[in-house]
């Protein structure tokens, strides 16, 4: 499941210099031999949805014939002729392959008439000429749910793609009109064309698959075709003059080919962007605009201290560590009376020792983490913590792993939230507020505001 952590250049090779801990702040890690020079990261939790592995062909629902993904029409024709099956609104299905595969599985479980409405043709003719066709459409609730689900899935993918493009600064493009080169984000090129050449295809945030879009437009121009009226011209100069004189420096709004590049077209199937634009948002019934709670994502998992197991909540992880490694974090915390900072130091200390394959109970170094784990389990050294001064050092404030979620879930005991640090030495100084007092006295608002309010 989880890959082993990225190997830092742990210079703690053969020798073991434990005595080099120093209290000073600017402790340079290079002093001690067991330093970790590069940032380490824990393995991320495995991602959510898995993409359908690319079999580029779609099988027929009933038989074993396969058709390539690009040739939907052939498959539909085959199904009508051979199996008398029609799918309604097939162009509106977001993901054709998944749709077909789903129904293929379902038709093996239940007879077809459970799902499809039957259409009888030639009903007035004699019996042998009558024929039944099956229609699969979204009147059936299951079908409608499936279509909506596929639609949502695709919208999510498109939004992710858009997000990636928005954050991507490695774009390189050439302006179509002046041949100037642009680097950075795609919005640089689009803004340039909008400003300098009055060529506006939309705000960069509304566009997805920008590279493909620009390629399509460039191809059209290379074929000497006007982008708006789509007539072909003799040569480049004629084309340029035409576009300039007739103000055709825009794209044809009726051309459906460009629909795939605008996010608004993915919002709802079956509605063109014009219809969506015309919808009046003032009619919306529920308006909890600042409702933050519907943003849902998988939470980051915390990784066990000793093995690679990941668990989604701290309770589960503690239970695992107790069962598998006999390490009870909560008990240690209450026995030793650790506050937040000390727990952090302890966790970082253990992580560092485990990373360097060293048992903190007996200081023996092992060749691999698996060996270390077996040793610690047999010898029960997991709960054999060394003396406090070994791990209660300032250097263990620095997190061993950069994305250690376990640290985020540690908490102080309730009574400690307001108490000061028992060991002393922790001072946190805050910013100066004397300037603010001076500002308040000198502001002109003193004169404009009600006098009573200021008498405090």
């Amino acid at each position: 499941m989880a890959a082993p952590e990225t190997q830092g250049a742990a210079a703690g090779g053969e020798e073991d210099c434990e005595g080099n801990h120093s209290e000073a702040w600017g402790v340079s890690y290079e002093d001690s031999k067991d330093c970790i020079l590069e940032p380490l990261s824990l393995p991320e939790s495995p991602g959510g949805t898995t993409a359908l592995e690319g079999s580029p062909s779609v099988p027929c629902i009933f038989c074993e014939e396969h058709f390539p993904m690009d040739e939907q029409d052939k498959l539909l024709k085959h199904m009508i002729i051979e199996h008398k099956m029609v799918i309604a609104d097939v162009k509106l299905v977001a993901d054709f392959q998944r749709y077909i595969l789903y129904w293929r599985k379902r038709f093996t479980e239940q007879p077809i008439t459970d799902f499809c409405s039957v259409i009888r043709i030639n009903s007035t003719a004699p019996l042998e000429e009558q024929d039944n066709y099956f229609l699969l459409c979204d009147v059936l609730p299951e079908d409608r749910l499936l279509r909506e689900e596929l639609q949502k899935q695709r919208l999510k993918e498109i939004l992710e793609q858009q997000q990636q493009e928005r954050n991507d600064n490695s774009f390189h493009g050439i302006c179509m009109f002046c041949n100037e080169e642009f680097f950075g984000n795609r919005s640089v090129l689009l803004n340039h064309m909008a400003r300098e050449h009055a060529f506006n295809i939309g705000l960069p945030d509304n566009i997805v698959n920008c590279n493909d879009f620009l390629c399509t437009l460039q191809k059209k121009l290379d074929n000497l075709q006007c982008l708006y009226c789509e007539k072909t011209f003799r040569d480049k100069n004629t084309l340029k003059d035409h576009m300039r004189k007739k103000q055709h420096r825009r794209i044809n709004p009726k051309n459906r080919e460009y629909d795939q590049f605008y996010v608004i077209n993915y919002l709802e199937l079956g509605k063109s962007w014009e219809e969506v634009q015309l919808e009046d948002d003032r009619d919306l019934l529920d308006h909890p605009e600042d409702d933050w709670s519907d943003w849902e994502e998988r939470p980051d998992s915390a990784v066990c201290l000793f093995c690679e197991k990941q668990a989604e909540t701290i309770e589960k992880l503690c239970v695992h560590m107790e069962d598998a490694h006999e390490f009870d974090l909560l008990r240690i915390k209450s026995e030793l009376g650790l506050n937040f900072y000390q727990q952090v130091k302890l966790v970082n200390f253990i992580r560092r020792q485990i990373h360097q394959c060293r048992c903190y109970g007996c200081h023996v170094k092992f060749k691999s983490k698996a060996e270390l784990r077996t040793h610690m389990e047999e010898a029960k050294h997991t709960s054999l913590l060394p003396a406090r001064k070994t791990w209660d050092q300032p250097e263990y404030y620095f997190p061993t792993y950069e994305n250690d979620t376990l640290l985020c879930t540690l908490s102080d005991s309730e009574s400690d939230l307001t108490a000061q640090e028992q060991n002393g030495n922790i001072t946190v100084i805050s910013e100066d507020t004397s300037k603010l007092h001076a500002l308040k006295r000198s502001s002109i608002l003193n004169q404009l505001l009600l006098q009573e309010g200021l008498k405090n």
Partner: protein, 279 residues
Amino acid sequence: MPVLWKGSGAPEWKATAAAYGARAAAMVRAGWRPQSLWSSRRQGQGLRVDPFTKPGHLVKDVKIKSLEEIYLFSLPIRESEITDSFLGASLKHEVLKIMPVQKQTRAAQQTRVKTFVATGGYSGHVSLGVKCSKEIATAILGAIILAKLSIIPMWQGYWRSKISKPHTVPGKETSRCGSAQLHLIATPRGMVSALVPKKLLMTIRIDDCYISARSYTATQGNPAKAAFDTISKTYSCLAPDIWKETVFTKSPSQGFTDHIVKTHTRLLLWPPHSFIQEK
């Protein structure tokens, strides 16, 4: 599709702050870049480019010299241009998430796009905004404007000694939102937290902080809001004597109020209900 060139120009004027986002977006579509909207007037378009609140006027005339004065006197910020004129270029925006939502109308269900934006300046101000709209660009712009309206200062701290700039939180702060409870804890070095609160704090260049969360649920929006609330508490809990309740009304000595009335009477008179004026 070129949804920009719809007809001849500006949409119908809507005076409420909620529609501010739509107006700004319309202006940008018409070719304007989001600079200060107070800088010029466009006749006949029905777009307000003068401030319409008293603090707004005072800021434009440079009578209020810093954003802190507005905080100290507890004035509500109802125009995003106020924030722009003080913080301007130092504000950085970070889009936290874009997600689709289903909205219910009388007719049917509609899908819209909802954006969460965090904005912050390196001078120690931070804010969050949410907006829902048909197009991503409109949603982002609207969220940025709403964020500017609710910008708050953060009190920062140093660990142990005051070297150069403050880099961490001043002590321990806790807050909750929904089911999420967050603690912000000072630390010498290293930002350890979930991704979302981390992005929020990084916009104000807090490099070092531990953010520990009580309940780790799938809802990510609540930790963000909880982090924001915690930040707003840094001043209110730790330095309560600075912030006092005030009442903004006419004072007996007219002073600057006269100045405003004299120089700014030639305001747009339609729609009249959008003015905040005392009689």
